[in-house]
């Protein structure tokens, strides 16, 4: 296996949780809800995914547990912000802090245990293609799911009627309400989809990336996913581009260090963030494009007339 192939494999593992959490948050934000609790939902998914795997011995049940944990946890956010109309920013931050605490508590007995790694699914013939084969067709289920989810979300948002409704809720909840769309129900579903994706991203951390449980193991990836949504200007395929760009820069700097390239490591470590800032500047330069894509009701609470 060549060095570039090895690097690509590392990059894919690093980028997959970012893409997953970001695509979920994208749908949530497209419905007009800003959920800053991605980090908390992700770490809950990691904890529950790991626990379920250790208890049942099956990482596939672990995946389901991670998804369920993320979705249920986001339901708490939904109840507070949609039903009780609490402030979304404050509630999202609270969800992150709560998630970090609860996950540490429930998973404490599992600290230090070695987990079970999610097996690879190998496509015959396709995986024999030189270079690309092993990289793209010899991966675990969560990687395939991440790509399928992005394609699915893209189709749903821009080609389906339900997606159109969801976007209209995010752009103007009052008009959508007047048209007879159930704003609160749509937002509940979008929030739960976001939670499920963040939970799946968490399960990837504790089942594929590093098959173990460690407190706070998401280590800020939820925040990067949140930034990716803005980076992608709320367009699904740009999440993949952004996630892999971020992954590529942060992984290549580690390989460059090991190679002994002689550039200060602090600068190399800052590169992914510098790259993000540069792309954000380039995007915001085009004011009109940003405005078209930004959900106009983002972060605003909706109270239906009674």
């Amino acid at each position: 296996m060549g060095i570039f192939e090895a690097m690509l494999l590392t990059i894919i593992t690093a980028a997959t949780p970012l893409v997953l959490a970001a695509i979920g948050e994208l749908v949530t934000e497209r419905s007009g809800v800003l959920n800053l609790g991605v980090e908390g939902m992700m770490v809950m998914g990691a904890a529950c995914g790991f626990i379920a795997t250790q208890v049942t011995g099956s990482p596939y049940i672990g995946i389901l547990a991670g998804i369920a944990a993320g979705a249920l946890f986001s339901l708490l956010f939904g109840f507070l912000t949609l039903t009780l109309v609490a402030n979304q920013v404050a509630t999202g931050l609270a969800l992150t802090i709560l998630g970090l605490g609860v996950s540490s508590m429930i998973a404490e007995p599992y600290l230090g245990q070695s987990g079970i790694k999610l097996p690879q699914i190998v496509f015959p013939v396709l995986s024999d293609i030189p270079f690309l084969g092993p990289v793209l067709f010899k991966q675990d289920l969560i990687f395939y799911l991440s790509i399928a989810l992005v394609a699915g979300v893209n189709w749903f948002l821009f080609k389906s009627r339900a997606g159109l409704k969801l976007r209209s809720v995010g752009d103007s909840h009052a008009s959508a309400h007047a048209l007879g769309i159930n704003v609160i129900r749509t937002r509940y579903l979008a929030v739960m989809f976001g939670g499920a994706c963040a939970g799946l991203a968490g399960a990837q951390l504790s089942l594929v990336y590093t098959p173990q449980w460690a407190e706070n193991m998401s280590a800020g990836r939820g925040w990067i996913a949140l930034a990716l949504v803005v980076f992608a200007s709320w367009r699904p395929w740009r999440i993949v581009a952004g996630g892999y760009l971020f992954g590529a820069v942060s992984i290549s700097q580690l390989y460059a260090q090991a190679f002994g390239i002689g550039i200060p490591s602090q600068l190399l470590s800052a590169l992914p963030y510098l790259a993000t800032i540069i792309v954000l500047i380039l995007i915001s330069h085009n004011r009109r494009m940003t405005l078209i894509n930004t959900p106009a009701s983002l972060g605003k609470s909706f109270v239906p007339d009674r």
Binding site: L111, G112, S114, T210, P211, Q212, S250, G260
Partner: protein, 356 residues
């Protein structure tokens, strides 16, 4: 959550105390932790020390701890709260608590303070540290014997003297066996990020290192090493569970002996400020069992450990050159502690440029 429970417990204790129902004659010894006491590394090692202390002197003292205290202004408040609540002796167990401890110590001259890994002392503030580098020297020797390619990978956290000292000790140990031995260093710029530490391990292994060591806190690098079938060293705690067929040995922090010694002095009224920097011989660190290596390598490691414990061998003894080829220590000369504690240069054999 845990902090809240602790606050409630403290309040309850204070109420109990004022009601006169509490055993008032027991001295209170308190600990401030930077992480969670179950982090599997640094903080857990301190908490094991606290439990040993309780076991040894439990009839005369009671212990209390605050965990996951962030470094900075919060630390000052946390330490002050402990000082006010009647703690007679307070251990603050992270380098970043240094200035907060100094400030609180000045306000409470009757309370004794002990700060881990710092360098600022006062009449009621002592410091304590461990010569981790002695363990790294032994690891270096083992690596040189085990490695087929003569290249080891080193996952480092931040370019502070403590970490640079560890790298230099490892290389010096390795070169005492194989003068051409080299190490590749990757700076993760984090103490704790399982994903990034695993990525760093992959980057090193993909570029041909066949022994791995780390100065970061999670077992992720050990796991990657196990997956790729190379050998590795654990850090801060015995990580054998993460790599039963991978871990060669690990540096294990064992603070208990120090805590018992100092607390006994405190109880006897003989506590005085000091700057203690103990090593293998004092039992403040120990080596996890030497495993997954041939018997002759194991014998060599045990021999070196004995020599360090007896004082016969000092890891940083010349002739040693700096990375640029200039002389650091002449033949037979040993480094003084001051140079080690402020170490900001590499010795020969490190395939990396030191971040300044």
């Amino acid at each position: 959550m845990k902090k809240l429970l602790f606050a409630l417990a403290t309040t309850a204790a204070v109420i109990g105390f004022s009601a006169g129902a509490y055993a008032a004659d027991k001295a209170k010894v308190c600990f401030v932790y930077v992480g969670s006491k179950t982090d599997g590394g640094w903080t857990q090692a301190h908490d094991i020390g606290r439990l040993e202390l309780e076991k040894a002197l439990g009839d005369k003292i009671e212990t209390q701890f605050l965990e996951s205290v962030p470094e900075g202004p919060d630390a000052e408040r946390a330490i002050e709260r402990l000082a006010r609540s009647g703690c007679g002796l307070i251990y603050t167990t992270s380098f970043g608590f240094m200035d907060a401890t100094v400030k609180v110590a000045a306000k409470f001259p009757d309370v004794k303070f002990e700060h881990a890994t710092g360098y600022k002392t006062a009449p009621n503030l002592a410091t304590y540290n461990s010569r981790f580098y002695e363990g790294r020297y032994i690891q270096g020797q083992i690596a040189a014997k085990i490695s087929q390619k003569g290249v080891a990978g080193y996952i480092a956290s931040f370019p502070i003297p403590e970490v640079v000292m560890g790298i230099n000790a490892f290389v010096t140990g390795a070169r005492s066996i194989n003068p051409d031995f080299k190490i590749k260093v990757v700076w993760a710029n984090t103490w704790f990020d399982p994903g990034k530490e695993a990525d760093a391990a992959k980057a090193l292994i993909d570029q041909g290192v066949d022994v791995l060591t780390q100065h970061t806190d999670t077992t992720a690098p050990m796991q990657v090493a196990a997956e790729r079938g190379i050998k590795a060293f654990g850090q801060a705690s015995d990580m054998i569970k993460a790599g039963p067929e991978t871990q060669l040995t690990a540096i294990v922090d064992t603070w208990g002996a120090y805590y018992i010694k100092r607390t006994q002095l405190f109880l006897d009224g003989k506590w005085e400020t000091s700057s203690s920097w103990d090593g293998l011989k004092d039992g403040i660190l120990s080596m996890a069992p030497y495993t997954n290596m041939p018997d002759d390598v194991k014998a060599m490691a045990e021999e070196t450990q004995k020599k360090i414990e007896s004082g016969e061998l000092k890891p940083f003894t010349g002739p040693l050159k700096k990375q640029d080829g200039s002389e650091w220590l002449a033949a037979g000369a040993s480094s003084d502690d001051g140079t080690l504690l402020g170490m900001n240069f590499y010795v020969e054999g490190v395939d990396d440029k030191l971040p300044q």
